[in-house]
Subunit: 96 residues, 10 copies
Amino acid sequence: MLYHVRMDVRIPRDLPPAEVTAILAREKAYSQDLQASGKWRHIWRLAGEYANFSIFDVSSNDELHQILSGLPLFPFMEIQVTPLLRHPSSIREDDS
Amino acid sequence: MLYHVRMDVRIPRDLPPAEVTAILAREKAYSQDLQASGKWRHIWRLAGEYANFSIFDVSSNDELHQILSGLPLFPFMEIQVTPLLRHPSSIREDDS
Amino acid sequence: MLYHVRMDVRIPRDLPPAEVTAILAREKAYSQDLQASGKWRHIWRLAGEYANFSIFDVSSNDELHQILSGLPLFPFMEIQVTPLLRHPSSIREDDS
Amino acid sequence: MLYHVRMDVRIPRDLPPAEVTAILAREKAYSQDLQASGKWRHIWRLAGEYANFSIFDVSSNDELHQILSGLPLFPFMEIQVTPLLRHPSSIREDDS
Amino acid sequence: MLYHVRMDVRIPRDLPPAEVTAILAREKAYSQDLQASGKWRHIWRLAGEYANFSIFDVSSNDELHQILSGLPLFPFMEIQVTPLLRHPSSIREDDS
Amino acid sequence: MLYHVRMDVRIPRDLPPAEVTAILAREKAYSQDLQASGKWRHIWRLAGEYANFSIFDVSSNDELHQILSGLPLFPFMEIQVTPLLRHPSSIREDDS
Amino acid sequence: MLYHVRMDVRIPRDLPPAEVTAILAREKAYSQDLQASGKWRHIWRLAGEYANFSIFDVSSNDELHQILSGLPLFPFMEIQVTPLLRHPSSIREDDS
Amino acid sequence: MLYHVRMDVRIPRDLPPAEVTAILAREKAYSQDLQASGKWRHIWRLAGEYANFSIFDVSSNDELHQILSGLPLFPFMEIQVTPLLRHPSSIREDDS
Amino acid sequence: MLYHVRMDVRIPRDLPPAEVTAILAREKAYSQDLQASGKWRHIWRLAGEYANFSIFDVSSNDELHQILSGLPLFPFMEIQVTPLLRHPSSIREDDS
Amino acid sequence: MLYHVRMDVRIPRDLPPAEVTAILAREKAYSQDLQASGKWRHIWRLAGEYANFSIFDVSSNDELHQILSGLPLFPFMEIQVTPLLRHPSSIREDDS
């Protein structure tokens, strides 16, 4: 089941640089594991913004929340979730 | 080059039903041709809304505009474009 | 799986009264069938507004969309969907 | 009498972790006591957000305010109240 | 129990003048009956706008909704309800 | 002359508790003096919010501003003023 | 007593041109009479918009409302009122 | 050439009082010099807010910006500029 | 003197096609004359929208308003004006 | 390919003045290099605001993002990107 998620990152200026580096490394690993598993289907950067649009393919609202609230950057992100479904005009097998 | 597009459809109530049917058929054919060509990469319906999120892969802002303004439903849609790029954490070959 | 839905009804003034009456009767029957089936868990009126908050319990985003887009009042409603999950503090068995 | 309440939690980063833990424990106990009493009818988490939708069943606006302003997290929450009533299409005995 | 209500009136231009006059007369009588009964405690015009702020004193959310949805101008108004309670600094007996 | 005022209180977390207590005591005395004088006609708490709706009866915009800017909590409040007048449907002598 | 008023004009397209012309002539005369009397102190056009900022000098909220609601264009305007007072830094005699 | 400017002042709480006093004194002198020169035509306080509406009469966008960005309070203000012109209904010589 | 203008076009559906064609032809000629004169410095289409960003170089707010309000499409556009000036980092001779 | 970018600068008050000076110098050099290269086509200041409108001419969304995210002020700016294309009415060779 697909969900569209917009994430805007706002890292506080007073976070020590070493901590930022560590969080970003954990975030990247966390994201890439989920991409490899197929649950995090797509991730794109928005031009000019510290933000991404992502597509998740998970079994439930609950699984989506567990993934998002487990993001190392979760305390520093604004997140907006939109549930998706197959569009009747889609011809792609992997759009649902 | 990738673009994220949100389209909200608002068909006026006084459009004759036959005209609506014809426009929707043309819209579907137009969309599926562009999907087949690879330019309209993804299209998803938003749950509960007459709207879609789409991903386009075109060569320029100009080509994107020609495609969008040529949509049979263009006069009846609100459209919001966001330019995208490859996210540094992406592991998918087709996310750029 | 639970979803929170807000529906705001805007019936156009030029809809013939008999048609309005018929749509409202179909809407009520449609809603009550879904309530009886357990899929439309709750529905409440907002004081002073022609609007409701509802809770749906369905198997997927897709099933939710089929239900909502099938509402006789769908063309005359503004709909906002929020996916829900069990709250960690909930003590009620039926809150998930 | 029913009320719909949305609560968004924003815990300041400079609150000592021990204090946060203590507040969250008090919040959970406070909420579960009110759920057990029947005054806090429902509580659901919004997917991807540190927020909940809740339904309260209390005797007055005043009682609702006493409950909400007594929440251990009250100083760190944004709260939005909507008074509800039984929907004319509801078939459930406990929707009012 | 007190409620603060803002009403913005938007009478459609194509309503026949005789119908407007009749609705406004019914609205005035309806309002004055409720004022006389004590349920509609206050009503003030906003300077420069076709709008009012009102205070209602009713026994429940349900009674408030029955009153508001029964307004002859209800189909032509935008209504916003805020539940109130006695302020701890109030010294007036009739502020609750 | 009547004015409708909404005040939202946001006390900064780093204000020393003793200072907060002193400000709140001064605020209460200030408000009750003005209520006793008849200039602060009404004050109500909004359910679930640290905010009030108030009605002032003063001789001019200037007098209103002197009162509001003299509030001990003024530096910590967001204030919104709406000038009012007697509503043509009002039957109460004290609604103007 | 001074008030700042923003007026945005939206004349419906289906108003007969002769009626528009007549309303605009009445509006101009009405405005100029009030300017001559000193009650309508200033009026400026906003560049690129069918809108004005005006300053009124009247004795009460009530007088302001009678003037604004008597504007021939009142049914076709969106109006926003802000009560003003003399600024402590002003050196002009006529800024209050 | 006239411009309408709204200025909202937000002085940070951690600015030392002596510094605030000094800035405010410089701001007042700066404003009064410009008023005396005729470039700052009007300034009014908004009732209940730490804000002003001002009218400037300067020779260009550039001159307006040099004046506004030179305000001692500039770093602590939110500023909104609207270019004005003579209204066709104005009868005052000094409204342009 | 430079101004940034955003224009959003909303042509009503019930305007006869011949009239639309005529207006658009007049609009194009009007725009191109002003471009040729150097007063309408730039015009760009926004991708996916019936809108443009333009830069005008005129001698005053008044001249800008005469140009904009004379646009054949003026009754069908929403217009937003921002006064500009030379940026201190600009190295281009024609950016002011 | 052209893009319209709005940048609003918000430099935190606790940044040491020497650091601010250094960042601004680097920002100016960075901007002027890109202007000299032709990639940063235009930059204008908004009257009364610490903000600019800029036009970029780059080969892709990706190149635009690399430029914007490399701005020394990037961590202190709010950025809004709009993809542009040649307007059908443009007569200028360099508007595309």
